[in-house]
């Protein structure tokens, strides 16, 4: 199976073949540090946890779904990776990594809205507080990613919210 993974400014094309019930061989695209001639042996040692051996170097990686793409923790370092739809690549259309549109501010965790700090129509600066959500006994201020104008507020004080629930949109 083919796959395309972006980490930071780097997109890698990878080709994965299952070699055992929990084991995979991976061929990396040309131009990478480790090219197609290098053996990459991946073993799924637990759900979402992998032991990877690249030419003798051993890595432990765990993969967690994130808001956009996945977070991979590899030998103590966290990487944010986005995955292209392999079908898109297979069709030769190249990778499509989501373009930014209107800012949607979502609850990063479940909790209770204890304060709404803005009104629709307010101009906000980047990093300005929008909503305070209480979770795990902490008051967490959810902030604007970038400057803009509040389009709509979807929650009110006292309401409980789930992870990913839309709080505010900013134009």
């Amino acid at each position: 199976m083919k796959s395309e993974v972006r980490i930071g400014g780097r997109v890698r094309k990878l080709d994965i073949e299952r070699t055992g019930p929990k084991q995979f061989a991976v061929v990396c695209g040309t131009g990478d540090k480790i090219d197609g001639n290098v053996d990459v042996d991946v073993f799924e040692v637990a759900p979402n946890a992998y032991s990877i051996i690249i030419n003798g170097r051993a890595f432990e990686a765990i993969v967690m779904a994130a808001a956009e793409g996945v977070v991979v923790r590899c030998n103590g370092h966290d990487f944010h990776a986005t995955l292209a739809d392999p079908r898109a690549w297979r069709g030769g259309r190249g990778a499509v990594f989501g373009a930014e549109g209107k800012q949607k501010v979502m609850a990063p965790m479940p909790g209770k809205v204890v304060r709404v700090l803005v009104n629709a129509g307010d101009k906000v600066a980047g990093n300005q507080g929008l909503v305070v959500v209480e979770a795990m006994k902490m008051q967490n201020e959810i902030r604007a990613p970038n400057a803009g104008t509040i389009e709509r507020i979807f929650v009110k004080e006292g309401q409980t919210v789930a992870t990913g629930e839309l709080l505010v949109t900013i134009e």
Binding site: M1, K2, S3, V5, I7, G8, G9, R10, L14, D15, I16, R18, F24, V27, C28, T30, G31, D32, K33, I34, D35, G36, E44, A46, P47, A49, I52, I54, R57, F59, E60, A61, I62, V63, V71, V72, R73, C74, N75, G76, H77, D78, F79, A81, L83, P86, R90, P108, M109, P110, G111, V114, V132, E134, A135, M136, K137, M138, Q139, N140
Partner: protein, 509 residues
């Protein structure tokens, strides 16, 4: 000694106290809220009783329910742990009324030292120096504004009933005061059921160093060295160690004796911690006494070789301290990381949810005090502390090395945790040189988390990034397969495509 102990708590500290019960042959009785039925402290208990719905005000903060379970189960004492009811003097009173022992100080001593303002008045009388500030709870915002401008900014707003950084705010200017006053008060009310605040002068680059105190009911009191807890994020301790890298034998003796003096003045018994700020000239200022077991007690256990919960239980049962001050000796160095369910890459937002996989860390010098396990769903209703990872080593460098090794082994899958932050702190030269103070982490945090400033190992061109890409791709392949069924057409087609492509690939180098 007690025969049967009710543990009025949850999470890692309930597990810690249950372990002490096992070691002493005491029957350990757990209580649990509706979301904690399968919690580790329930699994490991000898007995376990439900105590109400998830919100702590309806369960773990309900003294009446705690006493009722203790009576029905035939317990002879109650251990409050830390947090929840641990510093609420109504609990020891209710225990006394019900004929139950209480593992902690008397209600009176708790009130004399537990309120920060009362404790500072007592310190003032005893001649122990304190940080400038107002020793009474401040009723209204207007008075707070006046006091703050009298003392001069920056000031700290602190909860009268507080602890653990909750209900605490640093205020740099008069503009910030109203919103900080509101947030701190509401946080304190939620956490402790008491929203009252007081004000304290904020010192420049002070260290947080605390003394572990033990006193029995027979007039014996000792101190078990110090803990340095200067690595804090927003007044919440993040890393603690013993001994302090800044300590001298003379300072330890002076601070230890001041702590014992405060305990004696207050008629204090059981475990307590006197917290101090220490400035660059090694002047110390008394802050407050925590009238309970501290989260960070394991670092003291590691260097003294003593079991602090065992000592607590012995003293609460009326026994004499079996060790004198001269028996207390410190060996090596210990350090603790508080593993929280929070995301350092995303403003430290809490991250409750299901831990699909948890791999603990082990080996020489490593202790883990945990409240979670593989498959456990961390509820969003309580403190985000998952576990405490403690390392002991012959010296501070060995301890840091072991802690870093263990952090590399510890794996939490399913929720986010602050483990990556610890790796960055422990690799930081200022930290390894012991140049830390209470605001150090808050000031350093941005650069520690700054991706550009990170070591090249984590750049997108590194071999780690390559391995991470591979893991992400294999993860996706596994998911595609499970979505489509193991033997379905599309997967096989892809696989064949892959083979074909591999075979016809022309090396481009």
């Amino acid at each position: 000694m007690f025969k049967k102990l009710l543990i009025a708590n949850r999470g890692e500290i309930a597990v810690r106290i249950l372990r002490a019960c096992r070691d002493l042959g005491i029957i350990g009785v757990a209580v649990y809220s509706e979301v904690d039925r399968a919690a580790l402290h329930v699994r490991l208990a000898d007995e376990a009783y439900p105590i109400g719905p998830a919100p702590s005000r309806e369960s773990y903060l309900r003294i009446d329910k705690v006493i009722d379970v203790a009576r029905r189960a035939g317990c002879d004492a109650v251990h409050p742990g830390y947090g929840f009811l641990a510093e609420n003097s109504e609990l020891p009173r209710a225990c006394a009324d019900a004929g139950l022992g209480f593992v902690g100080p008397s209600a009176d001593a708790m009130e004399r030292l537990g309120s920060k303002t009362a404790a500072r008045q007592l310190a003032y009388r005893a001649g122990v120096p304190t940080v400038p500030g107002v020793r009474e709870p401040i009723p209204e915002l207007e008075q707070a504004c006046k006091i703050a401008s009298d003392i001069g900014f920056p000031i700290l707003l602190k909860a009268v009933a507080g602890g653990g950084g909750k209900g605490m705010r640093l205020v740099s200017s008069a503009d910030e005061l109203p919103s900080a006053w509101r947030d701190a008060g509401s946080e304190a009310l939620n956490a402790f059921g008491d929203g009252r605040l007081y004000i304290e002068k904020y010192l420049e680059r002070p260290r947080h160093i605390e003394i572990q105190l033990f006193a029995d009911a027979h007039g014996n009191a000792i101190y078990l060295g110090e803990r340095e807890c200067s690595v804090q994020r927003r007044h919440q301790k993040v890393i603690e160690e013993a001994p302090s890298p800044f300590m001298t034998p003379e300072l330890r003796r002076n601070m230890g004796e001041a702590a014992v003096l405060l305990g004696r003045e207050a008629g204090y018994t059981n475990a307590g911690t006197a917290e101090f700020l220490v400035d660059a000239k090694r002047n110390f200022y008394f802050l407050e006494v925590n009238t309970r077991l501290q989260v960070e007690h394991p670092v003291t256990e590691a260097v003294t070789g003593l079991d602090l919960v065992k000592l607590q239980l012995q003293i609460a049962a009326g026994e004499r301290l079996t060790i004198k001050q001269s028996d207390v000796s410190l060996r090596g160095h210990a350090m603790e990381c508080r593993i929280y369910a929070e995301d350092p890459e995303n403003q430290f937002f809490p991250s409750p949810g299901r831990i699909s996989f948890w791999r603990a860390a082990h080996g020489p010098g490593i202790r883990l005090d945990e409240g979670v396990y593989s498959g456990w769903t961390v509820p969003g209703d309580y403190d985000p502390l998952l576990a405490k990872l403690i390392a002991w080593g012959a010296d501070r460098n060995e301890t840091i090395a072991r802690l870093r090794r263990a952090l590399g082994e510890l794996q939490v899958v399913g929720i986010r945790s602050n483990m990556s932050l610890f790796q960055k702190i422990l690799a930081d030269a200022e930290f390894t040189n012991g140049v830390i103070y209470t605001r150090w982490l808050d000031e350093r945090l941005a650069s520690l988390l700054d991706k550009d400033a990170q070591i090249t190992a984590s750049s997108d061109e590194s071999i780690e990034a390559e391995a991470a890409s591979i893991a992400a791709a294999v993860w996706q392949a596994g998911r595609s397969r499970s979505l489509e069924g193991p033997q379905s057409q599309p997967m096989s087609r892809w696989r064949e495509d892959g083979r074909r492509e591999q075979m016809t690939r022309i090396p481009e180098r």
